[in-house]
Subunit: 167 residues, 2 copies
């Protein structure tokens, strides 16, 4: 994989109407702007984040809800990356990325997460149905393994009308 | 229960060093300032929240990570309320509330959550160990049932040093 492809995130290619998410929307001005990439040999995915000063549970430690947001968007992003690949595309091929929504989210908090370290989520994606993917997520703060997560993400139609969606 | 007691939230009585949480800390200036109350007959708990304009997944619908934060802090707040009650106290008795941290968090997103409605979380608390509580959470947007959640919350010692905590 060349470095250009490696640095293309799937969220960069979400259709505009799907790019307003507080967690990962490139068009959400004050959002977290999470970006999910293929990791190493494309058998796993990666997202990084630097928590803001106020995203704490107690002073010095990252807020659990922020970690949930991080896992959530990493999960839908990873599912979108995988589905895009199965459709024959890499993120920067110029095609709109597929759209995924979260059906379920689970986190086990293994230990307090120190603030001031870069967070890294590594995802492993498994197809459990043609339109449903399970993403197993491991979160690190620096080198410290702090959270295990799991996201079940469901593909939404390209003409996504959420008032009609039922996972 | 008189109305004064009813309007006292457990987070109002968290010790100062535990009151900086982005989700529910009264001292986190730009945080969500979630507040958890006894609901009706004290057999359940309630937290409300009005999502901000940018806390969206797509325009018109609430961000799943925000819902996770909402469930997370409602869970720890509900566990603290219950433990405080078991210790013989109501929130406004002037005693510091017990401290809880999240061991695990689970959400099932039943349908898209419309933005512009007040979110309401109702919690049911079960003691599963003297220092561990399971909180089952039902989330509504207005009258629409949108999320089922579950939080396992673990009591931290009053001299809480998170570097030594392992759930």
């Amino acid at each position: 994989m060349n470095s250009k492809k490696k640095m293309a995130a799937i969220q960069d290619y979400y259709p505009d109407d799907f790019a307003h998410c507080y967690g990962c929307g490139r068009l959400n001005e004050n959002g977290m702007k999470l970006r999910t990439f293929w990791h190493e040999d494309e058998s796993s995915t990666v997202t990084w984040y630097e928590p803001r000063d106020n995203q704490i549970a107690i002073p010095g430690f990252v807020y659990g809800g922020l970690l949930a947001s991080f896992v959530d968007c990493h999960g839908t992003g990873s599912a979108a990356l995988m589905k895009h690949k199965m459709n024959g595309f890499m993120p920067d091929d110029g095609e709109d990325a597929p759209r995924f929504v979260t059906a379920s989210l689970h986190l086990d908090y293994l230990k307090p997460t120190p603030h001031g370290e870069t967070l890294k989520a590594i995802g492993s994606v498994e197809e459990i149905h043609p339109k449903k993917f399970k993403v197993t997520v491991t979160v690190y703060a620096g080198t410290l393994h702090v959270v295990n997560g799991e996201v079940v993400a469901v593909q939404a139609p390209s003409s996504f009308d959420p008032t009609q969606t039922k996972s």
